[in-house]
Amino acid sequence: MNIITTQNLSKAYHHKDGVVDAIKNISLSVEKGSFVTITGPSGSGKTTLLLTLAGLIRPTSGSFSFLEKELTHVADSELAHFRRKNVGFIMQSFALIPYLTCIQNVMMPLSLNKVDNAKQKSIAKEVLANVGLENRMNHLPRELSAGQQQRVAIARALINSPSVIFADEPTGNLDPSLSIEILNFLKSINKEKNITIVMVTHSPIAAEYGNVKIHLNNGQISSMINLN
């Protein structure tokens, strides 16, 4: 079953110096349970594609759907509901809220989904233990190493049992051995929980983890390899 489908998806940024066509006519479909990697030179539109697929920015033209549901023209609030229910995010800069402790950061998506506090706590503890941070639950992000912060972000992405996790250079700020650790973890959740992963990366090593490999050039797909 296809989890993500796009038709001629394009995004143009309107800038005072002119229009930038970040992605152009992208048509693709991603099967549920895939590990998709997106590579390409800087400025080729990788982040733009990822954000569009995740419903964070609106395409200029074309369409995209999630689990057969057309999302191109739905209201902002529906997109937000889609994100809080189905999507987890892992960003290069971790995107943690600095004044919340690890566990509070991890609990946030559950609180948005109106899970009661006791349940939020127990699930968050379990997920934090999964990423090896059971001893750091009440630490603030700044009291953690970069690798630990990224694991908090992963825990937050996992907490609402999403069907897809979008990761934009999740290992970009980490040293090589930490990167491998994080990538292995992503691979394991992809395998064990059948969570679809869409990951933008610069690193050829990271790209090897994918079973669907998309290469972008100038906002267009220059190659797409499906190993499934």
Partner: protein, 405 residues
């Protein structure tokens, strides 16, 4: 976690910013609460004064000042008792009631008190002259409604109404609340003034006015104590309202040329003026604080939203609705308003407590209902100031790596 907790943690995280943003609101609400508190007590004091007088016209010695009426020094001027008879025997209509008084300061145990000689009701009634003139009866009937209005003076607090003294023997006295406390006297005990002994007939309730420091004795006893028989320091007259406007004052002046005749409204007019001014000031302050407070909160919110663009973006990224961002900001505004209102109330009440006696010569205590107003106004101001920042906060796009550059 929930939105409220998120807001709370965030506010707690930046305490110093919070305090500085609240400064304007706290001071503003404080000033309003302070003025209003003093004002309420000052208005009460006026009401008490008016009701304590139980009269609306005062006949004073020509040379006396208004203050002498409340507390006179030993050499304060007096008028002869005969003036009372002069009024009674005249054909002046519209005098409902009359009570001659002699008021002087005295010293007991090295402390100063005010001694007031009064004529109790039974003595008035027993005076044949007053009965033959039909004093009271007929006039009262004709003037009853308007004189009623006069005695209440628009203040409806029953407790404040002065109770008429029905009987007070030559050897009896009534003690004001503070006097009884200071002299440690109870009912039926003996108070010695110079060489005279007085039985304490009654302890008066606390009124918050100079009456608390007053000792009441029979007028004749007071005249004997001060050695000025047949002299009084004032005649309080209950005049019929219509008669006053018909020139009662002028007619009284005609028969009592060497006196000063004034109405109660003139006496308390300065305090009434002060009250009016305080009312106006608090309205002006309310308007100022509405502007300054909401601008100051708005400014804080604006800076706060800008500083937290990234966090708001993160919240949006993980699926927080625009309406929830709005809610977060408004919750924050409400919390700020709540804190500002409570602190402002405390500040205002405490300052009123200390300033009341200094500036308005009245004792002030907290008015609990004001906390409700303080909080409501403060929250209103805070929400007003936060509307625009909240609107822009909700417009912040979901976080993406690109925003960081």
């Amino acid at each position: 976690m929930n939105l409220l907790k998120l807001v709370w943690i965030e506010l707690w995280n930046k305490k110093s910013q919070l305090i500085s943003s609240l400064m304007a609101i706290v001071i503003g609400i404080g000033v309003i609460v302070g003025i209003r508190t003093i004002n309420v007590y000052s208005e009460k004091a006026v009401a008490i004064k008016l009701d304590n007088l139980g009269a609306n016209i005062l006949v004073l010695p020509q040379a006396a000042s208004i203050d002498d009426y409340y507390t006179s020094d030993i050499d304060a001027p007096t008028i002869p008792m005969e003036y009372v008879e002069r009024i009674l025997t005249s054909d002046i209509k519209g005098v409902d009631n009359m009570s001659p008084k002699l008021t002087r300061r005295i010293t007991l145990d090295n402390k100063k008190y005010v001694l007031t000689g009064i004529q109790p009701k039974d003595e008035i009634a027993s005076k044949p002259l007053w009965q033959t003139t039909g004093f009271g009866k007929e006039l009262e009937a004709s003037c009853a409604p308007s004189s009623d209005e006069n005695t209440s003076h628009g203040y409806e607090d029953e407790k404040l109404k002065r109770k008429a003294v029905d009987t007070l023997d030559y050897s009896e006295c009534l003690l004001g609340f503070q006097v009884a406390k200071a002299l440690n006297l109870k009912e039926k005990e003996i108070l010695k003034i110079q060489d005279k002994e007085f039985i304490v007939a009654k302890l008066l309730d606390e009124t918050g006015t100079v009456d608390d420091d007053r000792i009441f004795v029979n007028l004749r006893a007071a005249q004997d104590i001060f050695g000025i028989p047949d002299q009084i320091s004032a005649i309080e007259i209950m005049g019929c309202c219509n008669a006053i406007s018909d020139g009662l004052l002028g007619r009284l002046r005609n028969i009592l040329p060497d006196t000063r005749i004034t109405t109660i409204n003139q006496i308390v007019s300065t305090q009434i003026e002060t009250n009016k001014m305080m009312n106006k000031t608090s309205v002006i302050f309310l308007i100022i604080i509405l502007f300054v407070g909401s601008i100051s909160i708005g400014n804080y919110m604006w800076a706060n939203v800008n500083e937290r663009r990234k966090e708001i973006g993160i919240l949006r990224m993980i699926g927080t609705l625009k309406s929830e961002i709005y809610k977060i900001l408004l919750l924050k505004a409400i919390i700020l308003g709540l804190i500002g209102g409570i602190l402002g109330y405390l500040l205002g009440t405490i300052s009123a407590y200390y300033m009341g006696p200094v500036f308005a010569q009245i004792q002030v205590s907290a008015i609990p209902i004001f906390i409700l107003w303080a909080v409501l106004i403060s929250i209103g101001i805070s929400i007003l100031g936060s509307l625009l920042p909240a609107y822009f906060a909700a417009k912040i796009e979901p976080f993406s790596n690109m925003q960081e550059e």
